[in-house]
Amino acid sequence: MRIELAGVTKIFTDEKKVLDNISFIEDFKALAIIGPSGGGKSTLLRIIGGLISPTTGDVFLDGNKIIFDERYLIQHRRQIGFVFQAKGLFNHLNAQQNVMLPLVNVHGYTKADAQKIANRLLARFGLSADKHKFPNELSGGQQQRVAIVRAVAVKPKLLLLDEPTSALDPELTGEVLAMLNELRYDGLNIILVTHEMGFAKKACDKLIFIVNGRLAEYGDSERLFIRPHTAELASFLNRVLEWGI
């Protein structure tokens, strides 16, 4: 998939530019967004996902411009899966119902079909035994896996994830990343914000590095890890990789 950003700037209520004139073009299968916290990574992801609009600038996916107008955005969101850091499942629905809701109410599947799809996917990712559990009965890792199942059940053309494992301990992080890796091999395009440098390096083909709202560096992830061009990225990697990966 090709993503192009042209002069994307985001200012919330105060004058501070949370995103400052971000421009790049990348062809990617899995794109990782990395950088220090507070830098604007989530904001960028939410603009790409059509959850918020940029103050100025354009975003293109495979050459199609995202029109930041509610009527268009709702269509845009329907073609995209979005997974939040945590708590993204609907509290009042069990795992199966969570997966079914968008299928039935957004994508027009019958209840029976939606249930089949939900059960098949939940089974594939080892969640069959948990399908009747409510979010607060699931472990953090299970919650994130169900959230991913819900996002991919509608066959999105792109899956966006905002630090999907940062609330999890290492073991659960592993099971979520394994699931993402599998989906990537299925041909699903992924953009994720992550602090898992191992995953960014090995499972993502492209990387963008955001510092203080600026795009400091981007390109092949392999190259960025081995030969960072900017001092900022070099020192960031030094800090996060201090204990190896």
Binding site: L89, H92, N105
Partner: protein
């Protein structure tokens, strides 16, 4: 199983049905014995036979209380919902009007509201039907409490729930119908059911303006035959027959929803 285990619950024990039954009987018996001996000390001899004579009036009063409570429940739910919405209004006067309403009716005794509204507001606007006046006052009073319950329900919706609804592509109306309302209902239903029990009990205060509901009926009967103790014991039992099932239902709802939320 040692005998004492029937009466003592270990930290991890499950209470059996038999245990529950036995011990409830004991607790109720203790409670009744206390009253029995209190009455003994005053050498009162209970005689409930007169109740049969007044059965039609009692049934009528009971029916009026149920009616009063049901109509007030519906009206106060409506008022409470509107008030909770108004509280979040971006038009400040409306928002403050709702806050003043809730503060006033929760912060003053109902007896004062009854007199004030019946004799001043009611008279000024020609509401002389006592039942209607009673329903209105009771609904205003309970509506203020229900407003707070519903507001709490609205506040308890986490922002991530709305963001998730947006992300999966729901429209605003669908988000309200499929995500927000079900969550508010699940969170507030136990408290609302409990509030219904309060409405039933609070309706007794309308006897102050001579709405002939259950309490007023009993007041009239006991004033004519001086069987005050028997009358009020029976009154208590009748109210319990209404509130106890509701209280059980509230418990059930709390248990049911505690893990689903």
């Amino acid at each position: 199983m040692a005998l004492y285990r029937v009466f003592i619950k270990g930290t991890n024990d499950k209470i059996t049905l038999l245990q529950k039954f036995l011990n409830i009987v004991i607790a109720v018996a203790l409670f009744l014995l206390f009253f029995f001996f209190s009455a003994k000390r005053l050498s009162i001899n209970f005689d409930f036979s007169f109740l049969w004579t007044f059965r039609y009036r009692l049934i009528q009063g009971f029916a009026t209380t149920v009616e009063l409570s049901l109509v007030s429940l519906i009206l106060s739910l409506l008022l409470g919902f509107l008030s909770a919405m108004a509280n979040n209004s971006r038009i400040l006067a409306i928002s403050y009007f709702s806050k003043v309403y809730v503060q006033f009716f929760r912060g003053t005794p109902m007896i004062m509201q009854i007199y004030l509204f019946f004799y001043i507001v009611g008279t000024a606007w020609g509401v002389d039907n006592r039942f209607l006046a009673g329903v209105l006052i009771l609904s205003l009073f309970e509506g203020a409490y229900i407003a707070e319950i519903i507001r709490g329900g609205i506040d308890s919706i986490e922002p991530t729930q709305l963001e998730a609804a947006k992300a999966v592509g729901l429209e605003a109306g669908q988000t309200l119908r499929l995500v927000v309302l079900p969550q508010i209902i699940k969170r507030t239903l136990p408290a609302l059911a409990g509030q219904f029990a309060s409405i039933i009990k609070d309706s007794s205060l309308l006897s102050l303006i001579s709405v002939i509901e259950l309490t007023q009926t009993i007041r009239e009967i006991s004033a004519s035959n001086f069987a005050i103790f028997e009358s009020y014991i029976f009154l208590g039992l009748l109210y319990l027959s209404l509130t106890f099932p509701i209280s059980m239902y509230t418990r059930y709802l709390e248990g049911k929803f505690s893990y689903e939320n």
